[in-house]
Amino acid sequence: MTASTVLDPNTRPNLPPEKPRTLDRVREKLSSKTATIAALLIAILWTLPTLGLLVSSFRTPDAVATSGWWTAFTDGGLTLDNYEAIFDPTRVYVNIGEGLLNSLAITIPGAILPLGLALLAAYAFAWIPFRGRNWIFIGIFALQIVPIQMVMVPLLRLFSSGEIFGTVVVRPLGGDSGFASIWLAHTILALPLTIFLLHNFIASLPNDLFEAARIDGAGHGQIFLRIVLPLAMPAIASIAIFQFLWVWNDLLIALVFSSSDQNPITVMLTNMVGTQGQNTFLLSAAAFISIIIPLLVFLGLQRYFVRGLLAGATKG
């Protein structure tokens, strides 16, 4: 199940025997009857509010305002009206379809850009010896401490006037930069953690493989493309999902960095509610529209997701 299935052929004879045994024991304990029941309970508890939202999205504004969602099971009165309303621009003044497209336009590069850069960086930190490597790595790792809110203003200044600490260093992006500033913001904010996670995975690949590849004539580029990328696929997939969900659900960065014609679905949802909250009852229906795509991504890549999580835990 874990990444060791990928690496097994070579590493098995050398693996310290305690490691898989501990893992087996943990796995055994976690699959006992009580553990299963507990997990099931937690799952139900966590899913219940979502179910409530789903039911509410089919109820009339009056019903939502006056009674709990569970009464819908006995009283009935479900309607598709909310779903019709959110796609009707005359009623909500926002275009949800365009929001979905904007979200995709933001999220796909917002996940691929940091992942690509982080992969290159992680490989360099793990397998290319250079002076100060460890200090730079620690520095990047430490960047995770910086809260997003603190980065907002400096980032805006960088994008709008090309300044870092008051000194102009690059040409500003300008007002018509489109999605570029959001992509860059997401990339910059995601890199520290992504580099750290990928580095841990890539550094745990067996050294022998790299030596064998070097003797076989491969340079860094070929080792990266032909050995590291395929072997790191589980980690890449799981981090890709994480990043995809993070960017998709982001509201703060989108609010700060997107202009009105680039608003993703999250911003559209808040706008839709209206300044007086007059459309609050539509929120549950719109939210369900917005989670369809992340849900599809998650279900499609779920296999890698679970495997990648475990892989990170046991370090291959």
């Binding site: 052929p9 493989l209 064998a212 003797i215 076989d216 004539g217 491969a218 032909r226 072997l231």
Partner: protein, 365 residues
């Protein structure tokens, strides 16, 4: 095909006080099978990795053929290496694993397939070409690792304990297969092992290392019959040679009540009153003469079928000394008995008691 030369090659690990490999001078002839052997930490793997280009050479030179490869990256050295745990690429099939180096080198797809198939035939791997390494047994993986080296048709094969992950029976089988394959291909091979039996059975010549220093280089027979020092004497051969500290007598060395004759020139080389003598277990026999040889108390007799090995201890000048002797597998003394052992004449190795260097002339072959 090419020869390999280590010219004063030295490797110091950063922070280390002692060189891992200290001024290694070694010459491997074209097509020769040279085994580097020694206890763990002796620098044998480091030497091999220096030759591979995976380890920096701090001083001295390494040559492949006439080419100085000291500062050349591994990929340009025209070598192939078999790793201890094979280091197969887990995400590639057997054929892809074997053809990887050719693919990197830009060899056309057809030629690649042909060469992979040829090597696979040689190693009996044709049926497994489409499998991934995890679907192979240990022995098959080992053969794939060999195949990956063979496909490249390199100047030199490097093998780093390629048999140590196999079970005992397979190891013996594969040992002969590798040796005969190497002779058939005629590729210069440097082979690292800690197992002296492997060294004796496979190598054209053996180089014994200890603490980063080359102890002796020679044919298996050389090393067995004429160890240059106490370390080589004790390392080569199984069970190990008996090394005893005994007194010098007129015209020989004292072995219990007997004096084993040794040439005068040999004794003349030392000023000490004692010497370290080495006797192989098979050069000791039980004697019935109560006035000859060394009285030994038998601790244990290991029966190995045709032969038996007698493990005992004796008192030599007040020092309890353990001894091993080969005895008949069926008729032999038993534990607890005291027997008298004597040394076959002309089968004695005499070493300086201080330096451990050989004093005696070679045993007549």
């Amino acid at each position: 095909m090419a020869s390999v030369t280590f010219d004063n090659a030295t490797r110091m690990y950063p922070g280390g006080t002692r060189a891992a490999v200290d001024k290694l001078n070694l010459e491997v002839a074209d097509g020769e099978f040279l085994v580097l052997v020694g206890p763990s930490g002796c620098g044998k793997s480091t030497s091999l990795r220096m030759l591979a280009g995976l380890e920096e050479v701090n001083d001295g030179r390494i040559l492949i053929g006439d080419r100085d490869v000291t500062d050349i990256p591994p990929k340009d050295r025209d070598i192939a290496m078999v790793f201890q745990n094979y280091a197969l690429y887990p995400h590639m099939t057997v054929a892809e694993n074997m053809g990887f180096a050719l693919k990197i080198a830009g060899v056309s797809k057809d030629e690649r397939a042909a060469r992979v198939l040829e090597a696979a035939k040689l190693l009996d791997l044709e049926d497994y070409l489409t499998r991934k390494p995890k679907a192979l047994s240990g022995g098959q993986r080992q053969r794939v690792a060999m195949g990956r080296a063979i496909v490249r048709q390199p100047q030199v094969f490097l093998m780093d304990e390629p048999l140590s992950n196999l079970d005992a029976k397979l190891r013996v089988q594969t040992r002969t297969q590798i040796a005969s394959l190497q002779r058939r291909l005629g590729v210069t091979t440097v082979y690292v092992t800690h197992d002296q039996t492997e060294a004796l059975t496979m190598g054209d010549r053996i180089a014994v290392l200890k603490d980063g220093l080359l102890q002796q280089v020679g044919t298996p027979r050389d090393l067995y019959e004429r160890p240059e020092n106490v370390f080589v004497a004790g390392f080569i051969g199984s069970p190990a040679m008996n090394l005893l500290q005994v007194g010098l007598a007129d015209g020989g060395v004292q072995f219990g009540q007997s004096v084993v004759p040794v040439e005068r020139e040999t004794i003349a080389q030392t000023t000490a009153s004692t010497a370290t003598i080495g006797v192989r277990p098979e050069d000791i026999r039980v004697t019935e003469d109560p006035n000859a040889g060394l009285a030994v108390t038998v601790d244990l007799v290991e029966e190995l079928g045709a032969d038996g090995y007698l493990y005992g201890h004796a008192d030599i000048n007040g020092v309890r000394t353990d001894l091993v002797a080969r005895v008949d597998g069926r008729i032999h003394p038993y534990a607890g008995e005291t027997v008298r052992l004597e040394v076959l004449p002309n089968h004695l190795h005499v070493f300086d008691v201080e330096s451990g260097l050989r004093l005696s002339k070679p045993v007549t072959l």
